[in-house]
Symmetry: C2
Subunit: 433 residues, 2 copies
């Protein structure tokens, strides 16, 4: 039996998971690949640092050593970031090496270019770990849902924010308290912006939408709203209305164009994504043949992410063994029209603080009506500490423009002290029976 030699770029969380996985499941992986798989070089920043997990593997801080090693047939990029990761991948492909990556930044911005380079150089290029950690979602989209025209894809794709929202929901604690706890547990960074402002989720939204709708969607095409304005009061009101809050990556193929966004959403408790808790991720897909489907699992972490990376390595090994590398020439379709955020549609939850006067509920309902927004419900929820009244309204499906106009009109009313929250509510859930 032959041996396939591979190199890792990066020895961080994911890289060490890949080393560990190939060691711990060596026999089954060899059986499934039809060949031995051996990591012969790892690119690191400091080749002199002792790395017990990479015992017996040559470390180098010089990418050319890997590039020029003709024995290495697969380069596994797990260093992250745009630069120099993208450049290294392109150079590896140009040198005839197959590439596996876990890099959401590069895939969210340069998938079309990487596909073209893979096709041109006749090499395999796989990136399952770039979205959803260990959850198989890229291959299902590329190979299992191919009979479908996909109308919607929605995902809980950021474990940090999902952990935070889950804790806020279960323990009724504030955003600030739960952020501190997430930072203590190592789930959130000291500067948590990439997670809590939805930027990480937006990159994954771009990747999912590109594949689901076969079009180039970049990070900058995603309309993004984070979770830092979510309060425990909104979560509590939502629960009473039958909703659970999630930060969702949403992609829709609408008549107004492709609509891709990241923002908090109130989901009905019965929605499959509503019970995706803690650091788990899930991606929900609606196809015109399959109907609704969901893929659930661990969206981050050393081993879960390595599960996806190593599966990609095994796929390439199988292709090498059967002499069928480069068989699929994937490409992403041309750019399609994007749906501007004002034209996107949703139900909305609003929380207002108003003067506690007779007739105020009627005045508010009338103002919604004049803005073209019809209401599912409007209730006076409670009195505030200052003796004002708090009102919670849920609208029918309206455009974002109409919802924004309603907010503006409400804010102009003398009785309205403040529009505290405007949160989308998942509409149009299919009957689950």
């Amino acid at each position: 039996m032959n041996t396939i030699k591979i190199a890792l770029l990066g020895a961080g969380t994911v890289g060490s998971g890949v080393v560990r996985t190939l060691a711990m499941n060596a026999d089954t992986i060899t059986g499934r690949s039809g060949t031995h798989i051996e990591i012969t070089k790892i690119l690191v920043r400091d080749a002199k640092k002792h790395r017990p997990e990479a015992e017996g593997i040559a470390l180098t801080d010089n990418f050319d050593e890997i590039l020029n090693d003709t024995e290495i047939s697969v380069v596994v990029e797990v260093m992250g970031g745009l630069t120099p990761a993208k450049d290294y991948m392109l150079r590896a492909m140009a040198a005839g090496k197959h590439v596996v990556t876990a890099n959401k930044d590069v895939i969210a911005e340069h998938l079309a270019e990487l596909y073209a380079a893979a096709a041109e150089n006749n090499v395999d290029f796989l990136y399952e770990a770039s979205v959803g950690g260990g959850i198989p979602i890229i291959k299902p989209l590329k190979e299992c849902l191919t009979a479908n025209s996909i109308s919607e894809i929605m995902g809980v794709v950021n474990g940090t924010t999902n952990y935070m929202l889950t804790k806020m929901t279960e323990k009724h604690v504030s955003y600030d308290a739960v952020l501190r706890r997430a930072q203590e547990k190592g789930y959130a960074e000291a500067n948590p912006s990439a997670d809590v402002d939805g930027l990480d989720a937006a990159r994954k939204a771009a990747i999912l939408a590109s594949l689901a709708f076969d079009t180039v969607i970049g990070f900058e095409d995603v309309s993004v709203e984070g979770i830092s304005h979510i309060t425990e009061d909104d979560i509590e009101y939502g629960l009473n209305l039958g909703y659970v809050i999630k930060l969702l990556a949403v992609g829709r193929n609408t008549e107004e164009g492709i609509d891709v966004r990241v923002h908090p959403v109130f989901l009905p408790k019965t929605h499959p994504l509503a019970s995706v808790n803690g650091v788990f991720n899930a991606i929900f897909v609606r196809g015109n043949v399959l109907g609704d489907a969901m893929f659930y699992g661990r969206g981050a972490g050393s081993l879960p992410t390595a599960s996806a990376v190593v599966a990609d390595i095994i796929e390439i090994a199988r292709d090498i063994v059967s002499g069928t590398t480069g068989r699929m020439k994937y490409k992403i379709g041309e750019r399609k029209k994007l749906c501007p955020v004002e034209k996107t549609k949703s139900s909305y939850y609003l929380r207002l603080v108003v003067a506690d006067e007779p007739g105020v509920l009627g005045e508010i309902a009338t103002t919604f009506g004049r803005a073209g927004v019809s209401l599912k419900s409007v209730i006076q929820a409670r009195w505030t500490e200052t003796g004002d009244a708090e009102i919670v309204a849920v609208t029918h499906v309206v455009t974002h423009a109409a919802a924004s106009a309603a907010v503006e009109a409400l804010e102009a009313l003398p009785v309205v002290r403040e529009v505290r929250s405007l949160i989308r509510v998942a509409d149009g859930q299919e009957d689950l029976l």
Copy 2:
């Protein structure tokens, strides 16, 4: 662009879904396949019967017409049943045709033989629709979870029984009433045995366990218990204890051997499978790298099943276009030791009717203890219509042998009128955060 010609064996529910899918998504399917896909012949029992859904496609009642048609490169078996489906598939492969099937009966009993025939004849052989309808699970097991050693696979894989148990849970109706309703809605057959006795689920359990543990598991290796003894009272008690009931296909790789069974299980409400309701299916997998994952969607029906069948056809079309058919020579590993049902382990829920006498709870607890079964809880639940007391006990994890011995010892007690129910409870759920 070339055209790939395919034949369907069968024009029933799944067959007509395949015809419809290829028509309704023709352009995207052509784009993804790199070739046109055309159904040129359909094998039916009565070629004279009018079939508006197959307008323009030649019908035949003679399989040889398909076998000898050298233009047909893919045979899609959607007739179901063991005979003659298996024979037709083998003959199609021998004639150099690629085969797609949705046939759980054949796959559950003859997967190894079909793999061998595909390898020998250098053809593609795919069967995604045989488990979980439209849910991608076969390809994920074969290609996405390959870095893992799988310890457990559990699935809600029968829509009829899941519909029934969901309705019993939501509406507090009896088994008989819900069976009638399922029959009226066409979810259950006039003779419902294949569904309610767990036989359909057992075939899917055999397939899932074969792939998860890489060993030959046949239908006859699966220990099976259906749902006809489940009462609304048990469901109600379960809910109060925090459990939801599901008919599960379970496969485990244990120290005592491979353990494959189908039976009702009380799942904690927080388990991902617990919220899989109605006709939806889901398969939960635990791997030693990935951790827990779940695949959810529509497990039956014309279009959902066609989604999987057509994805398989597209995969073969891609292989034909790139000249890489027959590239994977799959085989199933040798038979492994099976875990006898007595040695399987679980927590158990028991419901007993006992004489309403002082000290009876103690006597029962002592009897459990003597049988080597320790209890998590034992409560007197209520009085029966005859003035006896009803007791509900939940055990810690014990062998099935110990649980059975406890039942026998309990039944021998003079105070015990009847052991009404013995239902497994899912133990060992991983911390979901």
